[in-house]
Amino acid sequence: MAKLTIPREELMHSGHAACPGCAPALAMRLLLKGLGPKTIVSIPACCWTVIATPYPTTALGVPTLDNPIEATGASISGLRAAADALGYHDLNIVGFAGDGGTADIGLQALSGMLERRTNAIYVMYDNEAYMNTGVQRSGSSPLGAWTTTTPVSGESHGKAEAKKDVMGIVLAHRPAYAATVNPSFPEDFVRKVEKARDMKGPRFLHVFAPCPPGWKYSSEQTIAIGRLATDTGVFPLYEVVDGKCRITRPTNQLKPVGEYLKTQGRFAHLTAADIAAVEVQVRLGWERLLAFERESTVPVAPTAPAVRVRPPAVPA
């Protein structure tokens, strides 16, 4: 039996306020295991605002800053600038935002942070809708998904549009590191976090984050659903270093997408034809990823170094 590689240290406490089976809670736990205590986390309005528990308690063993929903990218730029100015040179600066706060309202600040080459890690935990406000569709909700604003009634048949390709947007900024992670594969998750931790420059992690109440499944199914998402090609695991892609869970035989879709009430209305249409999309996505891995052998153009760091100057 393989030796476990995940650090034992817990920087997320019990007594947090997450729902049973919450993947974003698992994601934070694994993230902090990989990063360790020399970490500051900035959290926008999202489920984690609540999961961290109200004043005067906190579920996190690292310093945590709240920021408005659209400003996570800017917040971590500010934290890094202050850390550099104050001489804190060994800190992991992390933004931990939902898919709405990243793919929709926070996209500008994320783009700014990536373009500025902020030396920080941006984590998008993707539960594929605005869950904290009660399951409204986001740009990251998948095709066909029921949400409260893409109902299944009358002319509406769930979300009519495809999921936004946030990794594609991030990669267009040539980050130092970008990877997809899934709490159902914790060793891969933590290994990528540690890899990101030991690099400089803008780094991005896209976390697959199943949500029992929002996706309408029983809470003990979170890990199984996460595994199916990756093994059906819905959420492939890969990383991109300096523009070069590597699939970290390769397979020659994807499972049928229907096996994944049928586990969740949000897809219960999909017909066989709908499922077939999703299958086509997923297969094309997987083929494109294989081609990306095959062809991304040339490093991206070198980008400017991060902002020059000067020693702090404090009046005597």
């Binding site: 020399k38 500051i40 961290a52 408005p68 500010g78 934290l79 100015a85 373009e115 020693p311 005597a316």
Partner: protein, 394 residues
């Protein structure tokens, strides 16, 4: 000390440099741009060892400052008009997190129509965000006020963000001689920030958090306490500034020839210079007029206004802004401050200089004439209402 001939914008830049700011973040907007261009030069040349984070919006500019201040850094930003409006959400975050950011604001008109002239509507619209607000009359006052703003905002009893305003173009792009103090004197006046309740690496605390009604009210009350500490702290700061630099700008309400005045005009910013000249003329002609320049809008200096109101019959309050459906914002504040005082003068609201329209000596004279000899309307647009002269645009 060095005497330089510089714009109000450069006065902001030099003051930020002298304050040894550690993190700067800004987004360009006319007429603020030369402030941050100069700061970029200072940083590039090694004259200012600060982190300058060039962002993609004003919203992000203020978020960078808020987050940097939350880790204990001294921060500076500057904006104007639309940029300030875009920052509105973060203005509340800054005061709520007790982040003593200093922001230079070049007062500029708000669209639509597009207009880049001087107008205070942008900052008046932010009066309820928990920021201390200063309006300046000269480039020297801009530089001095920025230095005092850091000392005041970082005062442990205050711990609030501060805006330092200058009128678009009248100050931002007009040069005049400014005494730029030497670094050692500034260092004596303004020591390094002593951070309180900030993020500490390695300590699992949460800055921000969320609360129900059980704690939220207490947090807001603490911000109010900080605001209440501003006026007493400002007195100490101004006295120490005078002792070290030899300049005193007159407290929150700087009065001019108000002794024995029957009527007083209350102004903010650059129009005060014009009004002071008219006061001299009218006084020479035997008219009992005076001037009060409001420097501090938040917190509103109620006691100073009451002291002024004790002896005068009429106060004309000139707002370089508009509050649709009421009096000018400052006029409303003055009325509120004086209500219940022993002697309540008649308060008249004048709206003048909006959108960069010049407030000329003749315009000021007409305002004094109406206050002295007329029956002033409750509120009037100085250039447009026939009572105050020939309307410019009919």
């Amino acid at each position: 000390m060095t005497r330089l001939v510089i714009s109000g914008n450069y006065a902001q830049s030099y003051a930020a440099r002298l304050a040894r700011v550690q993190v700067i973040s800004a987004y360009p907007i006319t007429p603020q741009t030369s402030i941050v261009e100069k700061l970029a030069d200072f940083v590039a040349n090694g004259d200012l060892p600060a982190q300058f984070v060039k962002v993609e919006s004003e919203h992000s500019a203020l978020q960078v400052c808020v987050s940097a201040a939350a880790l204990g850094a001294r921060t500076y930003t500057a904006t104007s008009s639309q940029g300030l409006l875009l920052m509105h959400e973060l203005l509340h975050w800054a005061s709520g997190l007790r982040a003593p950011i200093v922001m230079g604001v070049v007062n500029r008109a708000v669209a639509v129509p597009w207009n880049i002239g001087a107008d205070h509507t942008d900052t008046i619209a932010q009066r309820d965000t928990g920021w201390v607000q200063f309006y300046c009359e000269s480039n020297q006052e801009v530089l001095d006020t920025v230095l005092m703003a850091y000392r005041l905002g970082e005062d442990l009893a205050v711990r609030l963000p501060v805006m330092v305003m200058e009128d678009a173009f009248y100050l931002s792009h007009t040069v005049e001689p400014v005494d730029v103090p030497d670094q050692a004197t500034v260092d004596g006046f303004l020591p390094a920030r002593v951070p309180r309740d900030v993020l500490q690496p390695g300590v699992g605390t949460r800055v921000g958090s969320f609360t129900g009604p059980d704690h939220y009210v207490e947090f807001r009350r603490q911000v109010a306490h900080g605001m209440e500490a501003v006026l007493p702290a400002l007195e100490v700061v101004e006295q120490d500034f005078f002792r070290r630099f030899g300049r005193y700008h007159g407290g929150p309400v700087a009065t001019y020839r108000t002794e024995g005045a029957d009527v007083v005009l209350l102004t903010m910013g650059t129009m005060s210079t014009t009004a002071r000249k008219v006061v001299d003329e009218l006084r020479a002609a035997g008219r009992k007029v005076g001037l009060a320049k409001l420097r501090l809008f938040r917190p509103f200096p109620v006691d100073e206004l009451r002291a002024l109101g004790r002896t005068v019959g009429r106060i004309g309050v000139v707002d370089r802004s508009y509050t649709f459906g009421g009096l000018g914002a400052t006029a409303t504040e003055v009325r509120s401050a004086l209500y219940g005082a022993a002697n309540v003068p008649q308060i008249t609201s004048f709206l003048a200089g909006v959108g960069g329209r010049d407030v000329t000596p003749s315009m000021v004279r007409r305002m004094y004439d109406v206050l002295l000899d007329g029956e002033p309307a409750e509120v009037s647009w100085v250039d447009l209402d026939a009572q105050l002269g020939v309307p410019v645009h009919g």
